[in-house]
Amino acid sequence: MAFLHLRDVRIAGIAAGVPRQVRNNIEASGLNFSSDYSPEEYVKSTGVLETHVSPTLCASDLCYHAAEKLIADLAWPKDEIQALVFVSQHPDYILPATSCLLQDRLGLSKECYATDCGLGCSGWVYGLSEICALMATGEIKKALLCVGDAKRRVAGWDNDPLFGWAGTVTALEYQQGAEGLMFHLGTDGSGYDAIFVPDGGARTPISPESFKYEDVDGRQYHRGMSRMKGMDVFSFGISTAPKSVKALAEHYGFNYLDSDYFVFHQANMKMNAVITKKLKLPEEKVPSCMYHYGNTSSASIPLTIVTQLQGQVQERKRFLCCGFGVGLSWGTVAFETENLVMPEVVLVDEL
């Protein structure tokens, strides 16, 4: 069990950007549905009516626009931002790291720590732990965590009705004496192929064979596309997320039911309903954004906070958030916010 309590740091603000373009799962054509259910049944079961997608935007573009808005609202001088962590499975290029590009594009100082992290659904929680660990030294006073996915990499990938695109930015600042953030983090790499892109990495480089479509559980995929063992992931999520929440609360001696909000990775409605029920959470404390944004991978927790809790985060609030999925990897974090700066979701135009 990996537990961390990282003190002397607070979340100052959260922002999110999504493509302006909305795609409705019932009206759109060419989506990759399985042959064994209709689009209407799919929407009813997954809880995803529509997603924001784009033919031109990368995850970093969405993060960039969210970051510009948040930095302006916080009135942070850019030269005081000393670290940037970019969490995504869809970097701009194979090389170099996208965090380097964002440092320059945002006009941050060259005295800036910048690194990429390749996690998915657990990525926001992991990214927070990385950046809070850096800041706990007291030597980095302001930092940005940029987290998101836009699944635009190979032809065919962008027709999945479940996944939406989003880029988020979480601004953290050093504050001596702040309670900080408490984490429980876990990994089970034996499930590496539960959510999997077979070709395109160094293990299995892209070849002409990679683009031949094959039937995977009634849906058509080529080997450059992400495929998911849906039932395995479902089973993993409903058992692991509640255990992780309980483990964190038990380790640090608090009652998890005392939290004001429980924000889970927006996997699908069915999975999140089971998790909510198993933890006996009141539904009004479990915000959700998947109906209008889909599963946005690592961005889903901060996107849910930004889109669902506007006007509710001025006072002191206690959050419990849990991300779980591809890896397999999971993380739960507990923290308090006060006077959280949180602009409305930024709608990003095509390039």
Partner: protein, 76 residues
């Protein structure tokens, strides 16, 4: 763990198929209403009622409801 109770819980995951159609020998993949989405409900039911985490292959490779019952029973 009792077989008839398992069959009843299994039947509850279907909306359109009448409960009387379900027996231990029902080949559930052949039901009109069966889909991978119903499979998720079965996994959730087994988790809640029996505390067993099924894998996708357990649901796919079992043929009858009794086959799946036996998988769950072994894991308890």
């Amino acid at each position: 763990m009792e077989l008839n109770e398992f069959v009843a819980h299994f039947a509850e995951q279907f909306e359109e198929t009448d409960a009387s159609e379900f027996t231990p020998a029902t080949k559930y993949h052949e039901l009109d209403e069966w889909s991978s989405l119903v499979g998720l409900s079965i996994i959730a039911m087994v988790d809640e009622e029996y505390g067993v985490a099924l894998k996708g292959n357990d649901v796919k490779s079992s043929v009858t409801i009794e086959d799946l019952f036996n998988v769950v029973k072994e894991r308890q």
